[in-house]
Amino acid sequence: MLKTFRIGGIHPNEHKLTAHCPVTPVAVPRQVAIMLNQHIGAPANCIVKKGDTVKVGTLIAEAGGFVSANIHSPVSGTVSKVDKAANAFGQYGTTIIIDTEGDEWEESIDRSPELKEEITLTSQEIIKKIAEAGIVGLGGATFPTHVKLMPPKEFKPTVLIVNATECEPYLTDDHALMLESPDQILVGCRILMKAINVEQAYIGIENNKPDAIALLQQHATRYPGITIVPLRTRYPQGGEKQLIDAILHKQVANGALPVSTGAIVQNVGTAFAVYEAVQKNKPLVDRVVTVTGDHIAKPGNYRIRLGMSMHELIDMAGGLPDDCAKVILGGPMMGKAVSNIDSPISKGCSGIVILDEKHAHRGTIEPCIRCGKCVSACPMGLEPFLLAKLSQNHLFDRAERELITSCLECGCCSYSCPSNRPILDYIRVGKNAVNRIIRSRKQS
């Protein structure tokens, strides 16, 4: 029996159309737009102005606090504007626009393809380097990586877990990266182990990627302490708590930090970026993005410079199909629907999924038939139908007692409901209200 998490979960149709598409580099865009708030935490502070010339890798915005991240120029050229611009969801934020000229890189960056295995830096130096490179969680969470590597004093990490599950349907960027750069990922993993001072690491991969499992297993023999763990394909296995449960058989207590189990979880794409930053001095300026959908002409896994326009990338993949009705940033379970595709691609964008008219809309809402399918699907062991009803009726005290705040917003409940009830929509509203109440209680 393959390992997996112990409560709830679903197995949606995988739709991994691009599973066998190798990582394809995309030409440097003529212009990029860099948003200062593309990570969790404080926005970065812009340190360039109109007319400045920059190279690939030049620092253009500095972390605006402890939980924040540096941002570097992904192209060489001239800053043409620093102004407010709309992101993919129509929200405005400060954005640096750079017009590209040539492709000149900072001299300090090692662009040779040779694998550099030997790790010379100390734990502290590694974390500093990761912070300087502006690396954030590349699975979509965009939490600054260096912060996660420095857990509160009372917790001592004992193991590193690398999330290579890619449990969202459609997405294959991690899969393609694993097939392209297994050694770089494994060295990145060793670096992360050294950073948090642990001797053991597990890389969790779902068994719908047998080629990636085999390849990494074969390469991992050369790297002490790293074990590849094949997992039974099941969503949301990539959720931090679910992954820790699947691999270590330990459940993070309600309200506790994941690191209380001794595990620090990092995404596989992040491990690759860490390799590049620490061994090659390369800040985070590019990433792999899956562009996919049932009617896309050239779906694939593209390596793009950050700040490229989403529209431009979709055109590279054959353009928006005529029947396109919805564009999702990230996977179809937890990704967000985009209103503005002329916005730039940011660090957390793992994929762009394009749905047609038929799949873009929800079914008609019918009465709850009390089938309990939402309950058995919930990976947190909650009663989604009840939480939805309590939120709808503003019974927030009871919702809090029924643990609404531990909802992951994974969407398993809404996905499973045969009556098409928008369960999670209601729960989100209730959860926000309860969190507000808890905060105000703490203040008083």
């Binding site: 708590k241 999702i328 629907a337 595709i341 873009a360 643990l403 531990s406 917003e409 045969p418 928008p422």
Partner: protein, 330 residues
């Protein structure tokens, strides 16, 4: 271009509510074939009348009384009709079947607010209502295969459970258990064919329409409880082969009467059964115990319907107190 914007998740599972209902209907088809074989034209008339009148009653109430858009297409009224028919003897006159449908849909389902809001299983209320109102009609059982072409004038006899009740467990040795597996026994028209009912169960599990918890906990409870009773009786009578006897007794309890039909298709009704797997097991054990108690010591030879209805009443309580296994709270 106008893009649709809505919150995640952006995809939905393959099951719809009406697909769930129709799947249960499909799962019941093998059992229907068995009843047509053994009870002939009567089974056909009673089942069709029941389905048709349930659908019509629901339509009329929604259209003229509640003035809402009728939802008979969702399959739930058809399923209720089918299950009600399955719980009736195949020689029941049409007018009684129609009264049963009115009790099932009109009183039990619609008066409580329609699909999703009823406390009790509609088909079972229909059956029990008829059992109390028309006891003679409801306790005459056509003899299987004896009169396939007759309807209300079919030759009748006793069911196995009532014989067992009259004659005591010594009678067990006279039962041909393979008849029970294929359905060659007297009883409500849809409850007789054990194998056919189990095939439907496998289909429902495979399609994930229901989970194993309720049926298995009911059947296991009835088996274990009956086995213990049988064994106690045999041992006190100092009979030889007590274990074998007790086993046969327990197996007969499983395969006769409405137990399989009730455990697989009636007790698992979404609306009236608990939502969590732990709740389902408690509910199933409750039904199992009540069934044996009624069969053994109650006024009726058969107790499944009553047992399920009693546990239906406890479902809200179970839902309130039995919570799912929470993540991170071992």
């Amino acid at each position: 271009m106008e893009l649709t914007v809505s919150p995640a998740p952006h995809i939905h599972g393959r099951l719809s509510a009406s697909q769930c209902m129709y799947s249960v209907i499909i799962a019941l088809l093998p059992a229907f074939a068995v009843s047509l074989y053994f009870f002939g034209v009567g089974a056909l008339i009673v089942t069709l009348t029941s389905i048709l009148s349930c659908v019509v009653v629901e339509y009329l109430i929604q259209k003229f009384l509640l003035k809402v858009k009728p939802t008979i297409g969702d399959g739930s009224a058809i399923l209720t009709g089918l299950l009600l028919g399955f719980n009736l003897p195949s020689n029941l006159p049409v007018w009684i079947v129609i009264i049963g449908s009115i009790a099932a849909i009109g009183i039990t389902k619609m008066a409580f607010g329609g699909l999703g809001n009823n406390l009790f299983n509609p088909a079972l209320v229909g059956r029990v209502f008829l059992l109390i109102s028309f006891p003679t009609y409801m306790t005459q059982w056509p003899v299987p295969s004896a009169s396939r072409w007759s309807y209300t004038d079919a030759e009748t006899g006793a069911t196995l459970l009532s014989k067992l009740k009259e004659e005591g467990s010594q009678w067990v040795s006279q039962v041909n258990i393979s008849d029970l597996w294929i359905g060659n026994q007297g009883g409500s028209l849809g409850e007789v064919g054990a194998i056919a009912l189990l095939i439907g169960f496998a289909f429902l599990l495979y399609r994930r329409i229901i989970s194993w918890h309720i049926p298995v906990s009911i059947l296991a409870t009835v088996f274990v409880f009956s086995f213990a009773l049988g064994l106690g009786e045999e041992l006190s009578a100092q009979a030889s082969g007590a274990w074998q006897h007790a086993f046969d007794f327990a197996l007969i309890q499983l395969l006769s009467g409405g137990l399989l039909l009730g455990a697989i298709y009636m007790a698992t009704d979404y609306v009236t059964s608990p939502m969590t797997s732990r709740g389902m097991i408690i509910y199933g054990i409750g039904i199992g115990i009540l069934t044996v108690v009624i069969r053994q010591w109650g006024g009726y030879p058969e107790g499944v319907s009553f047992a399920i209805l009693i546990m239906n009443a406890f479902t809200p309580l179970i839902n309130n107190y039995v919570k799912p296994k929470r993540f991170g709270r071992a």
